[in-house]
Amino acid sequence: MKLKIPKIPKIEMFGIDIIKNMLFFTLFVVVFLILLGILVAPSIKMFKLQKREYYITKRQADKIETHLEDKTYEYQKLYKENRKVIFALKREFDKDNFKMFTKKYMDILSIKDKNISVYNKNFIKKTYIVSAKLNTPTDFYQFVDMSKNYKNILKIYFPIVFKAKNGDIKLIYKLEHFKVK
């Protein structure tokens, strides 16, 4: 049985079919609102969200970057300032070289190895007993003064023995050599 669809009256004003145009206008509005709600609004929301998050993260990243720059600069400065010490702490102790260095102040008779231990977790301390011959204690003082110019980091320590012998002084002292592990 065929349904009889009531015929929609065709109203025309100024040569324009009003009902048809009204329907199309309604369709336009519906399509527009649907697209707005489904596509445009969510994408605007997503865009704003991501943008905000981006700028927050960027600020954070920039802060950390400047922090890194400062740290790098600090490290480089410190390194430059302490180059001598850093390199000195890397070098091994050469007995012959040391003998040559101290020639001005004393005649080294022997350097005996005494001990090797770990100092402060990161360093190795090698202890030697040095016996030498010198003329006056002043030589010894000068030696101590000049030791800071030597290529190794050396600690001069007790026991220190001065023995008078045939016009010379025999000197025995403990020498501690420090090196990084």
């Binding site: 991501q50 950390i64 890194l68 490290y75 003082y141």
Partner: protein, 168 residues
């Protein structure tokens, strides 16, 4: 075919229908375009954020490394300073000690330890020793013990044992 001519093209839609459809399609296309544009921009931001986050992690690690290195250099410097000071103090200490010895007294052996001092020498008289050398020794060290041994020429050989005890 019976006709000499072909029919003109007939469109399914009237002119105004076509206009509306074109208009609605155009507006829809614009909206979709706009939404896609924003979506793509959002994706770009997302990838940038990911990049920045990895950068942050890397940089943090680098900062950690540098901090460790800086601390180590500081440690090294500290060690050096300590040793330098130690050497300087040692030198001054030894110098002061040796300067303490007055002229008349001659030393044969002096053993300087961290907390003790052994002096072996020769003095003309006991008094010279007791007046010139003993007081300063006494002031520095906790216990001072001296032994005298007479020599053939009237002078005395002395052995001085000086100990510095830790205060509790």
């Amino acid at each position: 075919m019976y006709s000499f001519t072909r029919a003109n093209k007939k469109s399914f839609f009237a002119e105004d229908t076509k206009l509306w459809l074109i208009f609605i399609s155009a507006v829809s296309a614009l909206m979709i375009l706009f939404a896609s544009f924003l979506f793509i921009e959002a994706l770009f931001y997302k990838s940038d954020i990911k990049e920045l986050k990895t950068q942050i992690i890397d940089n943090n690690k680098k900062i950690e490394d540098f901090t460790k290195k800086i601390d180590f250099i500081k440690q090294e410097k500290q060690l050096y300073t300590k040793i330098s000071v130690n050497n300087e103090l040692l030198k001054d200490g030894v110098k002061n000690l040796l300067d303490l010895i007055p002229d008349p007294i001659t030393l044969t052996n002096i053993k300087i330890e961290k907390k003790s001092l052994y002096i072996y020498g020769v003095t003309p008289t006991k008094e010279v020793y007791n007046v010139l050398l003993l007081p300063p020794l006494k002031s520095i060290f906790t216990t001072t013990t001296t032994h005298f041994y007479q020599m053939e020429n009237g002078w005395y050989r002395f052995e001085s044992v000086n100990i510095l005890k830790e205060e509790q």
